[in-house]
């Protein structure tokens, strides 16, 4: 009964480094989302996917990339990390789009120094 699993839970990156945040769901959901949550701010949508092979930009996509090769996995790639990308990242999945049926992962806390 895993739901949405994110790895790693914590990570410290140096400026200019790259990394991939992993997100896996076992509910066979078509919709998957990446949000970031900055301290004292609301969640912002980075990228989303409506099915395997289909991805699109959200509100704050700059500096990130995604892929969706399978229904289960939706990794988020950070290229050339910057301090502005210090945040908590949440992955979510749903069978019908964002709303009551959406399940969130536990988050990845990323610090760029």
């Amino acid at each position: 009964n895993a739901g949405v699993t994110q790895t790693p839970k914590f990570r410290i990156l140096k400026i200019g480094q790259s990394m991939t945040l992993q997100c896996t769901q076992d509910m066979n959901h078509n919709y998957m989302y990446w949000y970031r949550q900055d301290p004292g701010m609301g969640l912002k949508l980075i990228y989303y996917s409506v099915g395997a092979g289909i991805t699109d930009k959200g509100e704050v996509p700059n500096g990130y990339n995604v892929s969706r090769s399978t229904t289960e996995d939706f990794p988020l790639r950070l290229e050339l990390a910057a301090p502005s990308q210090t945040s908590v990242y949440f992955c979510a999945s749903s069978s019908t789009g964002m709303g009551p049926e959406a399940f969130f992962g536990q988050g990845t806390r990323l610090t760029v120094v």
Binding site: M41, G42, L43, G58, E59, G97, M98, P100, E101, F104
Partner: protein, 114 residues
């Protein structure tokens, strides 16, 4: 510009002391309003969906109401386990596919002391 404002930012209550959290919004084409609970170090957990003015939903000590401009989350006789950050989000057309996107407020951090 579409936006969601939650107040207060933080609220401290004694166990049993009822109160309300506010979520005011200005959104074009509102499709729904959602309340989430977020515990420290966890992702948001869905509580309620409200779709039209006048609608009310209840769950244990929580009751959510909706008007054309705002929503309230009423907490009756809270317990320490109700301590969490409560997030409000509105759904509108746009990013996120055919279901639209959620615009989140900054949240209200609720602390209930025994």
């Amino acid at each position: 510009e579409d936006q969601v404002t939650q107040s207060p930012e933080a609220l401290r209550l004694q166990e049993g002391e009822s109160s309300s959290l506010n979520c005011s919004y200005t959104v074009s084409g509102l499709r729904g309003l959602f309340w989430y609970r977020q515990d420290p170090g966890k992702g948001p957990e869905f509580l309620f969906t409200l779709y039209s003015a006048g609608e009310e939903k209840e769950k244990e000590r929580l009751k959510a109401t909706l008007t054309k401009k705002e929503s309230f989350l009423h907490i009756t006789a809270p317990k320490p386990e109700d301590s969490a950050t409560y997030l409000c989000a509105v759904q509108r057309p746009g990013y996120g596919g055919s279901q639209g996107n959620l615009i989140f407020g900054k949240g209200t951090k609720l602390s209930v002391k025994p």
